[in-house]
Assembly symmetry: C2
Homo-oligomer: 90 residues x 2
Amino acid sequence: MAEENTIFVGKKPTMNYVLAIVTQFNNAETNRIVIKARGKAISKAVDIAEITKHKFVQAIKYESIKLDTEVLEGEKGTSNVSSIEIVLAK
Amino acid sequence: MAEENTIFVGKKPTMNYVLAIVTQFNNAETNRIVIKARGKAISKAVDIAEITKHKFVQAIKYESIKLDTEVLEGEKGTSNVSSIEIVLAK
């Protein structure tokens, strides 16, 4: 069930993700949302978390923030990309 | 003295910052380095931390990772920018 509350940050506008998270938190059953991003999207993930926290759902806290490195398999071999996992909880 | 071990991530290449951090950790007196970045540089800060940790100074751990929002005063008024503070410690 945890996977249902995971947001993968990609190329959509920042506010699309913020509104998706706010909508989920307005569902009484949702107490915890995980935001995941890789590479350049990491900055956007931090924006999304901060905007959600400061402008929309003041009751949430950062339960954990983790950094990691993922290995991607490409045509030219493997490459490393950094990732972030931000857990928001109310 | 803490400020001496703070790295502000800007427009230089990622490896410049990594090497600056590795050099500081090779100084026996340095046990703790703070990496700070704002806006788009946040992704680069995470790359810097991950590359340092996985390729150069395996003994370090993330002591803390904090996200925040800073208010910038500009000619057209104020704007908000997200920031990250990553504390590396060995």
